[in-house]
């Protein structure tokens, strides 16, 4: 495998993504964790770019690195979080979990580590957004519309659940 720029970029991004993930696990402060994950999300966006999915990459940055992370941070702030997140001491549980994850990872890894399908020429990067748009509005109208309902549901749900009720406001 020759060391091409793409490869370097990939390794860099992958490293950052994984590092972000690892930091998520190892850091103790909740806010830090979220920040660490922003890096992951960003580098995933980078990965998307490498995969000629510019639109997705942009969406990723907007939604994940932007919206979701900020919403989460708001969530943390609103819930007056304990500064640090001390993992509960569950020795056996954690070991089992690690074993399970290891087993899972190995099993999947066996399947994919050398899965290299001969690359067929594809022109995904050309007018990527347009391609997506055409696809979305020709084939996937129905899920798209359902998605709108879903977002409405999420909206309503978020309001219903997170809204401070009047009477409760009075009490507090």
């Amino acid at each position: 495998m020759t060391l091409s720029g793409e490869l370097i970029a990939f390794f860099g991004l992958a490293l950052v993504a994984i590092l972000g993930g690892v930091l998520l696990i190892t850091l103790t402060k909740v806010v830090h964790m979220v920040i660490a994950l922003v890096f992951t999300f960003l580098s995933i966006a980078g990965i998307y770019l490498l995969l000629s999915a510019e639109f997705v990459a942009v969406v990723q940055i907007l939604i994940y690195s932007g919206a979701i992370t900020i919403v989460m941070l708001f969530g943390i702030m609103l819930t007056k979080h304990q500064e640090s997140d001390e993992p509960a001491k569950g020795g056996w549980g954690k070991i089992t979990l690690l074993l399970a994850i290891a087993g899972f990872a190995v099993a999947v890894y066996l399947g994919i580590y050398n899965l290299d399908i001969p690359v067929q020429p594809a022109t995904l990067h050309e007018e990527n957004t347009k391609q997506i748009g055409i696809e979305l509005f020709s084939k996937y109208v129905i899920p798209f519309e359902v998605m709108s309902v879903l977002l409405l549901v999420a909206l309503v749900g978020a309001i219903v659940l997170a809204k401070k009720d009047d009477e409760e406001g009075d009490q507090s």
């Binding site: 109208v141 409405l152 009720d165």
Partner: protein, 508 residues
């Protein structure tokens, strides 16, 4: 794609969905604009009307050949028709339940939201049952899930309700992730999200590695979806969530959501894995080769559901485990593929039975627990004396759940067994587990009847039954008995209308 192509599609086939969607919209607008003092309970009737209309339009569609819109993102095939009927039927009953729901604290200020979230959830389930496209299925699944997360937590001043929805959302998120991860591999292996295309690709698959990945995907999707049907290993949320959620929502989760789960499992598995090649020579089908896994999970589910149910003192938890067990029974049918002859009618019939008996049971529970403010099984005590008709109705449901002849539950189980035995070698171990589970279930089911008939009652509050709940009880009792005594009413219907579900995969 221009407007004309758009119009050329037979949108009439989506009428039921449109009606539900429209009703949901109308409800949400009404809820928004109607004055606060207006009793939102009336919205239930509107919702019910919507469901009935949807049902009627679906019935008018029954005679249609299978319709496919927009490269299978929507399919109205016999499978979809059959299960949407069930979904709408169940949903109608649950709306009636919800109309009568009068918890001692909680729901009133969000009753309006409740109804249209309910309808969107139903919409999600309907989409799941009539799509031949992975993306649409996934979106439908998520619509159902998100709506039910909110429904579970809708009694937001109730600690249990909060906790239940939190647990539900966390587990649901994980399950979604796992499912999606699996789906991504499926997409990778086939390069398509159209089930028909995928099926063709997978059937022609000869590369061992790709088959392996296909297998991985299979397991991930299966385990992910087992969340929806509350089957092992993803069953553990169920008791807690059931306990915390409002009773109509529990009925919804245990019935509609479960039907939807089975629908999507059947959709995906029958479309993809039944014909997928199970080895490099293409001699074996994938499901045929790997049904042992589903079978073991089915067995495990049955055991877990029944055995742990033995220890439950809380009615909702008990029925959570019971519903886990029933998911296990149904998985038996899935694992054995009904022996090749009995799959669809078995699952459909069993789900019909399950709709009737489970909603009936939850109707009784809702009635009793909202009066006593408790979910403990002791609230059943003395019911036989206090209200013999209610007690008899409850007995009918329990007997049906336990699979006693004369009820739908028996015929349903019988059908499942036929599927297990008809093949050679028969799935005797699985059948054995199922039968053992059934016997264990006698203990707790009849324990409830012992409460009803043998124990004295402590409070002699008169039991008031609202008309909605009354209707539910009557429909469920009659259905449970009629379809138990004359199951051919259902069988003939399904065979006449849908034949052997032969239009299941084939795309136009």
């Amino acid at each position: 794609m221009d407007w004309n192509t758009m119009l050329s599609y037979n949108w009439g086939a989506m009428m039921p969905e449109f009606i539900i969607l429209g009703t949901a919209m109308i409800l949400s607008i009404l809820d928004l604009f109607w004055p606060k003092h207006f009793n939102r309970r009336k919205l239930a009737w509107l919702a019910l009307t919507g469901i009935i209309l949807a049902c009627l339009s679906l019935i008018s569609l029954l005679s249609f050949e299978s319709v496919s819109i927009l490269s299978d993102t929507f399919r109205l095939d016999s499978f979809a028709k059959a299960f949407k009927l069930l979904l709408l039927f169940g949903a109608g009953l649950i709306i009636l339940l919800a109309e009568s729901y009068e918890p001692q604290e909680g729901l009133h200020e969000h009753r309006g939201e409740f109804y249209y979230l309910f309808l969107t959830a139903l919409l999600g389930a309907m989409i799941m049952s009539s799509s031949g496209d992975l993306i649409t299925l996934f979106v439908g699944l998520e619509l159902l899930s998100l709506s039910s997360y909110i429904l579970v937590g809708i009694r937001k001043h109730d600690l249990k309700s909060n906790e239940a929805s939190m647990k539900y959302v966390i587990n649901g998120g994980i399950s979604t992730a796992i499912t999606l991860f699996g789906m991504s591999y499926l997409y990778g292996v086939t390069g398509s999200v159209n089930l028909a295309e995928m099926s063709r690709t997978m059937a022609a698959l000869t590369d061992g590695q790709l088959q392996y990945i296909m297998g991985l995907a299979f397991f991930m999707v299966f385990v992910g979806l087992s969340f929806k049907i509350a089957a092992a290993p993803f069953h553990m949320w169920a008791p807690d969530v059931y306990e915390g959620a409002p009773t109509p929502v529990v009925a919804f989760l245990s019935v509609i959501s479960k039907i939807a789960g089975f629908v999507i499992i059947l959709r995906i598995f029958l479309s993809l894995f039944q014909t997928a090649s199970g080895d490099v020579f293409g001699a074996l089908d994938f499901l045929e080769k790997n049904n042992i896994y589903i079978a073991s999970l089915a067995g495990l589910t049955i055991i877990i559901g029944n055995v742990i149910a033995l220890r439950q003192q809380n009615l909702k938890r008990l029925f959570a485990y019971s519903s886990i067990a029933h998911a296990g029974y149904l998985l038996v049918a899935v694992a054995t593929l009904g022996g090749g002859y009995f799959l669809m009618d078995t699952v459909w019939y069993y789900l019909l039975a399950y709709v009737l008996m489970n909603i009936g049971v939850f109707a009784v529970i809702q009635l009793l627990s909202s009066q006593s403010g408790s979910d403990d099984i002791s609230i059943l005590a003395g019911l036989g004396k206090k209200s013999p008709y209610l007690a008899i109705a409850f007995t009918v449901f329990i007997l049906s759940l336990a699979g006693i002849p004369g009820t739908t539950g028996f015929i349903g189980k019988l059908n499942i067994f036929l599927g297990t035995f008809i093949t050679e070698p028969g799935h005797f171990v699985l059948a054995g587990i199922m039968i053992a589970g059934t016997i264990v279930s006698y203990v707790y089911y009849f324990g409830l009847l012992v409460q009803v008939f043998f124990r004295p009652f402590h409070s002699d509050k008169v039991i008031k039954i609202r008309s909605g709940l009354y209707t539910v009880l009557i429909i469920c009792v009659i259905g449970t008995i009629i379809f138990g005594v004359a199951p051919n009413l259902a069988f003939d219907f399904i065979h006449d209308q849908f034949g052997d579900f032969t239009d299941f995969i084939s795309s136009k």
